[in-house]
Structure formats: C-alpha cells, structure tokens
Symmetry: C2
Subunit: 301 residues, 2 copies
C-alpha cells in the first residue's frame, strides 16, 4: 500500500472510531482470544495469586481472561456460570482445583473444550495439570515439627474434594505415619477465619496439643488468636505453622513458620499448558521454597 493511502486509511479509522469487531473475527476463525478460568473462589490468597499468573501470561499471549465462579457443592451453580462462558468459542478453560468438583457435571459442560488445571496430586481427572504440591508442603512441615521433638502434630484441615481429603491433610498424615506417631483427629475448618478461631479454641482445650499444622496461613493466624485468648503461648506452649507464605506471615508477631508454594508460577504454567500443543501436555510441578522458618515453631517444653 502506498504510504499516502495508508495515512488516509489510518486517519479515517481514527476519525470514525473504527474498531475491528472481535465477534466477527471469532466467528470466522472459530476461536476467541479468551482464556476461561473456572474457580470456586477468587478472594483467597492462593487463588488471587494463580489468577495473577494466569492474567499476566494470557496478556502476553494476546488473550483476555474471563472468570466463572462456581460452588463445588452446588452442581446447579455450574451451568449459569460456565454455560455463558463456554457459549463463546474460547481457546480453553483453566479449572482451578479440578479435583474439587463433582466429575460428572463439570466434565460434561467442558466436553470438547481444551482444559488445563492447577491442582494437587489427585489423578482421577485426566487433564493437563500444574501440580501445586500441597502434600509435600504439609509433609515437610510436619517433619519439621516432629524433628523439633514433638511427639505428634495436630492438623486444622481445610476442606477437600468430594469426600476425598485435601492434599495437605494427606501429606500431614504421611509424615506422622512414617514417623510412627499417633495420628490425632483432624479439626476441620471451612476456610473462614471464624472456623479457624473455633478450631483454635478446640485445640486450646486439649493440653496434649503441642504442635499444629494449619491448612493455610490465615487459618493459622486465627488459631493463634484463640490459643492466645486461652492463655497458651506460641511457640512456647504450642507451635503453629501455616502453608502458603502469605505476605503478612512475616509481619505477624511472632513471624509465622510456613511453606511457600509458587501460585503465580502455577497460574502462568497453566496458560502455557493450555496454549501449547495439547499432545505435549502433561504435568509440571510448581516450584516451592520449602519450609520458611520463622518464629512460631520451637521444640516442646
């Protein structure tokens, strides 16, 4: 094209506010530059970080990210949220914590759509997967506490998938089993701060408790508060550790011993899996920094 003509066209584009119609382009090309994300939550730490990683990587690849939030325990929530999203010819969907969902309902919706997931080790679903090694995190944290001399370690659990235990619970149990330690009953929480406090109160009443692995850092924070209210000191009377390495963990008093998992990396990697040649798709494991030693874990008195 002659430069002069090009100029004229550009001027007209500007003047008229012309913007190519993405729907028309999508129609003819058969795909929209949209990466779908399906999640049970978008506000908890791990999820916000995965979303961040997904968004960054998707943008680099020229895609926009769309979000559908669904309640894993309410199959009826799947259709309204996911249906609209899949109505678009999106390039694919990333399911955060696929193992959480009822297989049938979600898989049915997703039929024919490229999918990747970020999740723990559960292999029940045959989908390209970025593994965030919850199991290993909990195992190493439990080993750390056992290594400090604790007879056993309690666990405030975060919910698992349909009937199956969370990977964090599995790892904690493995470490205890391997050490031949007594496996106490799991104290369940539902991710909420309130449930963390309740769990803490329960643990505070039991004088045999000397060490606790919490399902995540926020729960650990709530547990510590209840322990404090009951007059039990951390780490002198009981050691408490979290998982995730929440940005605030280093700032609490004392700083929380925890385990860093790279959720941002995991999110980015999931986009790569989705956009890559699907046949190459396999599994990758997100990096982790191992136990982050701070002030809430100590030997028993």
């Amino acid at each position: 094209v002659r430069p002069a003509t090009r100029e004229k066209v550009q001027a007209a584009i500007k003047k008229l506010g012309y913007r190519p119609n993405g729907a028309a382009r999508a129609l003819v090309q058969g795909r929209q530059p949209i990466v779908g994300v399906i999640a049970r939550n978008t506000t908890e730490f791990g999820y916000t970080q995965m979303l961040l990683g997904i968004e960054q990587r998707a943008r680099e690849a020229g895609h926009v990210v769309a979000i559908a939030v669904i309640d894993p325990h309410d199959p009826g929530s799947i259709e309204p949220a996911v249906g609209v999203m899949l109505g678009q010819p999106i390039v694919g969907a990333i399911v955060l914590d696929y193992d959480f969902y009822d297989r049938g309902a979600l898989s049915e919706q997703l039929a024919g759509v490229p999918v990747a997931t970020v999740a723990g080790l559960d292999d029940a679903i045959d989908v390209p997967r970025v593994v965030v090694d919850d199991r290993r995190a909990a195992r190493e944290l439990t080993e750390h506490l056992l290594g400090l001399g604790h007879r056993t370690v309690h666990h405030v659990g975060v919910p698992g998938a349909h009937g199956r235990p969370n990977g964090r619970e599995v790892g904690w149990r493995e470490a205890l089993d391997a050490a031949g330690a007594v496996v106490p009953e799991v104290v369940l929480s539902d991710w909420s701060i309130a449930s963390g406090r309740a769990a803490g109160s329960l643990l505070a009443q039991d004088g045999t408790v000397t060490a606790v692995v919490c399902g995540n850092d926020e729960i650990a924070c709530a547990v510590m508060r209840s322990l404090h209210d009951a007059g039990r000191r951390v780490p002198d009377d009981v050691s408490v550790v979290g998982i995730d390495d929440h940005p605030l963990a280093e700032v609490w008093v004392p700083g929380l011993t925890t385990y860093r998992l790279d959720f941002v990396w995991a999110g980015s990697a999931a986009v790569d899996l989705l956009l890559e040649d699907p046949r190459r798709a396999g599994r990758v494991t997100a990096p982790s920094s191992g136990v982050v030693l701070r002030g809430t874990s100590a030997p028993p008195r």
Copy 2:
C-alpha cells in the same frame, strides 16, 4: 413444536454436543454478554472484594466477566490489555479506581464503550460512579483518634492518582485541619508490606508519634510489626488504625481498629449502573459501617 419433535431435537443436541456459537450470536446482536473489568490490581483486599461483587451480579444478569490488568503509571500497558478486551463487543467496562489513570490514554481506548467506575470522590471524570468513601473513612478514623486525646495523628499514605492525593489522605488532612491540629508530613508507602515496615520504622524513631492512621489494614499490620521491633507498644505507646476491615483484622493481637467499607456492594452496584439505562446513571455511595472499634486505639499516656 410437537413434544416428540422437541425430544428428538434435544437428543440430537446432546448426541452431537451442539453448543450455540456465542460469537455468531454476538455478531448479529451487536453485543457479547461480557462485562469487562479494568483494574490496576486484582490481589489486594479491596480489589478482590469488588471483583467478587462484580462477578456475582454479572452472573445473575447472565454475563461473564473479563479482566484486564493495567499499570496506571505505564500508558503502554493499556493497549495490550484493554485493546483485546474491547475488540469484543462487550456490554461495557467497569474501571476500578478510574481516577488513578492518565485520563487521555484510557479514555481514548474506552471511547464509545459504556463505562462505570468504582472510585473515591474525585469528579474529574464524568462517568457513572459508585463511590467508596475513602475520604470519610479516614476523616472519621482521625476524628476518633483526636477524640481520644491525641494531639495530632500521623498518616502512612497509600499512593494516589496522577499527582492527586488518595482520598484517604484527603480525609485525614480534613479532620486535622478541622481540629486545628498540626498536620505532619505523610509517610508514603506503595501498598507493599515491605514499604509498610519501612514506614513503621520511620515512625518508631519519632518519639512524638502517638497515633497513626494507615492507608489500609495490611499496611497497619506491617507498621505495628516495626513498632514492636523498636520496642514501642500498641496501643500503650502508639495507637494504630487501618482502613478496610480485612477479615484478619479482628484476629490479630490486639484486634485492629479500622473502618469497614462495603467493597462487595460497590462491585455489584457498578454492574447495575452499567446494565441500567445509561441516562439514569448517576452516582451511588457504598455503605460503610463506620469505625470498627478494637484494641489498637487508646488514649495517649
């Protein structure tokens, strides 16, 4: 249609996995059931909550939400993120904290697209707006501290828009001015925990500091840690308050005095503004609970 025929069609739909092509529908209808969200951040507390409100309301209305993250200080980040999103004939865009951005670049991109914003009071941009009253929150918090008997109140500020101060800083200043109190220099942070710690260290060195309003709860937490490390007790030596009422604020020891702003409501309301008759569009203010009194504010010694 005869029931029998309907059955047959439904069966065929199921068998073939037929799914209506949203792009084709969008092409003929001229709009996609997509609500775009433009934000500088998706991981900080207020943003996650607004996103939650947006997502819920959008889903109820049968829309899906798409996200574009842009850096307010890098106009070059606008095009890649927003351009792809606006390439779709979306129903409209919600700009979180519109006042943050360089007017020109973003407004130009947004030309012709219905827009709503969730933001403070700045009126420079003429767009339907859900007001989250940062100014009032900081003002009332400062008044609370002044009412306790503090001579003046320091402020750890969170960044503002292009050159303009954040609404929280404005409110803090208003309260001091109204009370005839000395207005100390603002200690700036950049939202990060590290910058909150640095601000806390600075404040700890100044023996005249007896009360601090922090730009948000996380910053307050970091400031308290630095104060603690410097041997200054909260609230005995210095009172510290935050803004937002982060879920963890009640669980810290002592519980953080703060101010609750309803970000989830604000997000939902923004979707309503966008989907409503645009001529009716005006401004609404998100509810707030006022000062949430907890353990970090007390009279000076």
